[in-house]
């Protein structure tokens, strides 16, 4: 054991590894902060640079980009209401309202601290529980994932506020839009109407930018004679009390991220939403969620960063990539003649430990790079809004284009901007749309895959303990919501 650790340390302890990991975190943070530049895109673009590097150095570079990218996505989510990554989409719910109140620095600080704590917990979990969690994750088949997504969707009721029916309608629109494209089972067209651009479905980033960033800009043109609140960032970062009040949600979110991250194919977004939902459910400031609650930012970021280390669990322990990024990292392993899985734990354990050492260092780097980036990037909020909003709109155009190199996506973004503005005017909450649009494909695919396995028998959704646990949790959450609503109606009656 000590020999292995000594070998691992020898493998890691080179100046190249230390520098390359730092560069990776910087690149990831910058790229993640640009709407339209996704973390998988950044990791994929970095892959060719690793060909000439030793295996540990190359993989650490990719891991640095991955970790930085996940945090970077939260920066624009908070500052301009346009998350750089899908996983950061939950952060906009409270991050942007905080920025509008002039507390962008506080939101960015708490997002960073939550990210670092979650990342650290996720890395420790990776090291300690790789084997155990991987075997649990393998038990997740389609019915279990379906019930998990159903449970995650209960958050829609939470983010709809006092507009529950409209929130559910908004979620329906999100689910509907997620069905556009080729049917997964039969490969037939759905809502394509002869347009080849629609065959691969609507891309997440243009829809998201259109729905969240563009309506804000349109709204500015409606009331720009009244100057909006100006963000004063100096000296109002997050305090120790802020951090302390969010710590419970950060730790809970980190563990939600770890557990969901270990399940292949789930990703950061559901984890962020679930963590947010749990934080809201247990918070004293429940009513403030969605209006600029610091705990909401912390929970969302903890949920999505908690996934980062844990997605490596099925990759390293079983050789199963959980998402696109880990699939690219798997490719990097294979380029260097390595095959992650149980055999690697026997034959190249020193290499795995060397990666673990690097991963732990990445949490520390994230804190340094994040702190520096907040100082530089948060100056964006000091630009006069008559200049900032047009700049953001042009940035959105480049971002929407860059996802698929498609001008069609720019059109999608502009149309979704109008839809988002109409929703804003009709008081239809946009957050349920977003949640349903992200979780929609996961919900439908696993629903139909399960029924295909069971030949149409619905009892498959009740066939395992995990399914029952998620049904129970869903029933409990819905029951609590009904109870709370009935309670609030009862207390309103005497007042009226």
């Amino acid at each position: 054991m000590l020999d292995t650790l000594a070998n691992a340390f020898a493998l890691f302890a080179s100046i190249d590894n230390v520098i390359v990991l730092f560069i990776g975190v910087v690149v990831g943070t910058v790229v993640g902060a640009i709407p339209g530049m996704t973390t998988p895109m950044a990791v994929a673009l970095t892959l060719p640079f690793t060909f000439s590097m030793p295996p540990v150095t190359g993989i650490l570079l990719l891991l640095g980009v991955y970790k930085g990218g996940i945090y970077g996505g939260s920066i624009t989510a908070i500052l301009i209401n346009a998350p750089g990554t899908p996983a950061a989409s939950c952060t906009v719910l409270d991050g942007y309202p905080l920025a509008r109140k002039g507390q962008a620095r506080r939101a960015l600080d708490i997002a960073l601290y939550a990210s670092c704590v979650a990342d650290f917990i996720s890395n420790i979990s990776l090291i300690l529980f790789a084997g155990i969690l991987a075997s649990f994750a393998l038990k997740f088949q389609s019915p279990e994932v379906f019930t998990l997504v159903v449970f995650s969707l209960t958050i829609i009721a939470g983010v709809s506020g006092d507009q529950l029916l409209k929130g559910l309608g908004s979620a329906g629109l999100g689910l509907l839009l997620a069905t556009v494209g080729l049917d997964l089972l039969y490969g037939t067209n759905r809502f394509v109407f002869g347009d080849v651009n629609l065959m691969s479905g609507l891309n997440f980033i243009p829809v998201l930018i259109g729905l969240f960033a563009v309506p804000e800009i349109i709204n500015y043109f409606v009331k720009n004679d009244v100057e909006l609140e100006q963000s004063k960032l100096a000296g109002i970062g997050a305090t120790w009390n802020d951090f302390k009040s969010c710590l419970k949600s950060i730790i809970r979110g980190s563990f939600i991220g770890v557990i969901l991250g270990a399940v292949p194919g789930i990703g950061g977004a559901p984890s962020a939403f679930l963590s947010y939902s749990e934080a809201r459910r247990t918070s004293k400031n429940k009513a403030n969620f969605g209006k600029g609650e610091i705990e909401g930012v912390a929970a969302a970021e903890a949920g999505n960063n908690g996934v980062a280390g844990a997605t490596m669990i099925p990759l390293l322990a079983l050789g199963i990539p959980g998402d696109i990024i880990t699939a690219i990292i798997l490719g990097a392993f294979m380029i260097h003649g390595l095959r992650p899985g149980p055999l690697m734990f026997q034959q190249n354990i020193d290499l795995i430990y060397a990666i673990f050492i690097g991963i732990m260092l990445s949490s520390f780097y994230l804190l340094i790079v994040g702190k520096a980036s907040i100082r530089i990037i948060s100056k964006i909020a000091d630009i006069p809004q008559r200049v900032l909003f047009p700049i953001v709109l042009i940035l959105c155009v480049f971002g929407a284009y860059a996802v698929n190199n498609s001008t069609y996506d720019v059109g999608v973004m502009l149309v979704m901007g109008l839809v988002g503005y109409a929703m804003l005017k009709l008081a239809i909450p946009a957050a349920p749309f977003l949640i349903a649009f992200i979780l929609g494909p996961l919900l439908e695919d696993n629903f139909r895959q399960s029924l295909t396995i069971s030949r149409g028998d619905y009892s498959i959704f009740f066939s395992s303990t995990i399914c029952w646990v998620f049904w129970g949790l869903t029933a409990l959450t819905v029951g609590l919501l009904i109870w709370q609503r009935v309670g609030s109606v009862k207390t309103e009656v005497p007042l009226s």
């Binding site: 790229v31 530049m37 673009l45 006092d162 507009q163 029916l165 409209k166 559910l168 309608g169 329906g172 629109l173 689910l175 509907l176 069905t179 049917d183 089972l185 039969y186 037939t188 067209n189 759905r190 809502f191 109407f193 800009i217 349109i218 500015y220 043109f221 409606v222 009331k223 720009n224 006069p384 809004q385 008559r386 200049v387 909003f389 047009p390 700049i391 709109l393 042009i394 940035l395 155009v397 480049f398 284009y401 860059a402 190199n405 001008t407 720019v410 502009l414 109008l418 503005y421 005017k425 009709l426 008081a427 239809i428 439908e444 629903f447 139909r448 029924l451 295909t452 030949r455 149409g456």
Partner: protein, 160 residues
């Protein structure tokens, strides 16, 4: 929460639900000849969503009709005058993208949007609308390796 927004939103959802069930799904979803069970059909899940959207629309409509009339006076259309202009600028930018490319198009759109938003300083207008699109082009095209169509500027930029 207002009566009119509830009535409009309810009517929109209800219409969409009805359109989905009777027009959009029959026309827009291609069905395979034979499916082993109903839920396997590509139209099963969208239909389910259609019914839910329609029912919710009816619910929102009823909720709106039962609500007390709005007591806030209507602000009219005057504050919205700049919205069609801003969206018009973006629509022209989008339509001209194949001809002007991203750099020239973004320069013109950015300048027009800043003017519309009330920026009057020629220095700010000139510097921001020229430098930002060039900076974005350099980042996306030269650093990230994403081909950005640049229209008439293409032959000059290829040499950079």
């Amino acid at each position: 929460m207002s009566k009119s927004s509830d009535i409009i939103a309810g009517a929109v959802f209800l219409t969409l639900g009805v359109l989905l069930i009777f027009v959009l799904i029959p026309v827009g979803v291609d069905e395979p000849r034979k499916v082993p069970f109903a839920a396997a059909s590509p139209s099963y899940y969208p239909k389910l969503i259609g019914y839910v959207i329609g029912l919710l629309g009816a619910g929102i409509l009823v909720q709106g009709l039962r609500r007390a009339p709005d007591d806030t006076p209507s602000v009219g259309f005057a504050p919205y005058a700049k919205v069609p202009v801003a969206m018009g600028i973006m629509a022209v930018f989008y339509l001209l993208l194949p001809f002007l490319g991203f750099i020239l198009g973004a320069m013109l759109a950015l300048c027009a949007l800043m003017l519309l938003a009330g920026e009057r300083s020629p220095k700010v207008l000139g510097l921001v609308s020229v430098l930002l699109p060039i900076g974005l082009y350099l980042f996306f095209a030269k650093v990230a390796g994403i081909p950005i169509p640049s229209g008439p500027l293409e032959p000059y930029l290829i040499r950079i």
